[in-house]
């Protein structure tokens, strides 16, 4: 988090991430590999990014759950989920995202799905949670 000059009128610096090359967020984790090393996660991280692999199912939902809980503990503001590569996403995963979204709302934090794939949007639609998750159909499927 950017430091505040004592006399400055700007406390939080939304552009601070631009000082880091390429990565717009503080953490990038790849699933469903081994549990990610989150030690490097700064305690005051403003946002974290989770990149989902093509298939998300009940077989790896526990691992995703653990990772999200870790991030939630260490992140103060936003979790970005990159769902652009999803080709299959089951109910268990969607339920996890619904619970996470509710938790984030209670904590006044943000859960954002970046450019979700068509399949991800389709799954969210099918379960009636696309609106709740804020999945943007119009921006889906580009990446």
């Amino acid at each position: 988090m950017a430091k505040k000059n004592e006399s400055s009128l700007i406390e939080y610096d939304p552009l601070a991430w631009m000082n880091t090359e390429e990565k717009p967020t503080d953490v990038v984790a790849i699933l469903p590999k081994q549990a990610p090393d989150l030690e490097s996660l700064a305690s005051d991280a403003l946002s974290a990014k989770v990149i989902l692999q093509a298939t998300q199912s009940i077989q790896n939902v526990m691992q995703l759950h653990e990772q999200l809980v870790d991030i939630l503990r260490n992140t103060s503001d936003t979790i970005e989920v990159d769902a652009s590569a999803i080709t299959a996403c089951d109910t268990a995963t969607m339920q996890l995202f619904v619970v996470l979204k509710q938790e984030m709302l209670q904590l006044e934090r943000n859960l954002v799905f970046d450019f979700p794939s068509d399949k991800f949007v389709e799954a969210a639609d099918l379960l009636g949670v696309s609106s709740m998750l804020g999945v943007d159909k119009s921006a889906a499927g580009f990446f």
Binding site: S8, L9, I10, D13, P14, L15, W17, M18, N19, E22, P24, D114, F115, D118, D136, K137, S138, A139, A140, G141, F142, F143
Partner: protein, 253 residues
């Protein structure tokens, strides 16, 4: 030299996109540049700002949907300045779900090999980050970001830059990105701090002239006039005249 296509973009509303587009493009046309401006906001405010009060024009919507050619929908609005209206179906394009990635490429295709006699094509983007903006980012190599000098504009800029970085990565290109400070209030310390913050993150990318917030700029759209026509000797008219000069010669802060 081929035509330069520039997106005037910021998904945050109220930062001065349409005001900048109307006045900057007219100022460029006035010094002899051939300019086409595309109203890419379904609200059609740019067309109104340039004096077209009817919303019944066929526009870029029809071109993107293959129902008309670009030449058919162009409307000359001033000497050297022509407008492509939004059209009534542009809103529907924003909600297109079918067509996969191709639906992001409609504008680029619509503009390809067109307007080659023009110096500049400016696209006035909607205040959103959906399919229309995706189309713009597919179609352009240059971005001009109007930035109001307040904190929430910084927050909006952060989101916009994330989007731009994603498109750069996927499309494997780097946009020429410039900023213009709009709605600037010199008497506010916060305005100065916001500009300083922007200079830190966007060195040599901010056009030198700031556009001051004035009542006149808010008045002129209802007359269908740019500020250079409405009050040609006003400080705001001078701001846009200078901004056009900065844009042409690349004068930055």
């Amino acid at each position: 030299m081929s035509v330069r296509i520039i997106a005037i973009i910021n998904q945050k509303g109220g930062v001065g996109k349409t005001t900048t587009t109307a006045n900057l493009t007219y100022a460029l046309a006035k010094v002899g540049k051939k300019v086409t401006v595309i109203d890419f906001d379904p609200q059609g405010h740019l067309a109104i700002s340039l004096g077209l009060f009817s919303k019944q024009h066929v526009g870029i919507d029809a071109v993107m949907l293959g129902e008309a050619s670009l030449e058919e929908v162009i409307i000359p609005v001033r000497e050297n300045l022509q407008l492509v209206p939004a059209g009534t179906k542009l809103q529907d394009i924003e909600l297109l779900n079918d067509g996969g990635v191709q639906r992001g490429d409609l504008l680029r295709k619509a503009l390809s090999n067109s307007l080659q006699d023009q110096d500049f094509v400016f696209i006035d983007c909607p205040p959103s980050s959906g399919l229309l903006v995706a189309n713009v980012l597919f179609a352009t190599e240059e971005i001009l970001i109007p930035m109001a000098s307040d904190f929430m504009a910084l927050q909006g800029l952060s989101h916009l830059m994330e989007t731009i970085r994603k498109f750069e990565k996927v499309l494997k290109k780097t946009y020429k990105t410039q900023l213009v400070i709009s709605r600037y209030t010199a008497s506010r310390r916060l305005s100065k701090e916001v500009v300083a913050k922007l200079q830190h993150y966007f060195p040599k990318q901010i056009l030198a002239t700031v556009i001051r917030e004035t009542a006149l700029l808010a008045e002129c759209p209802s007359f269908g006039k740019t500020i250079l026509e409405y009050r040609p000797s006003s400080p705001s008219a001078r701001d846009f005249h200078d901004l056009a000069s900065d844009f042409l010669i690349g004068k930055v802060m």
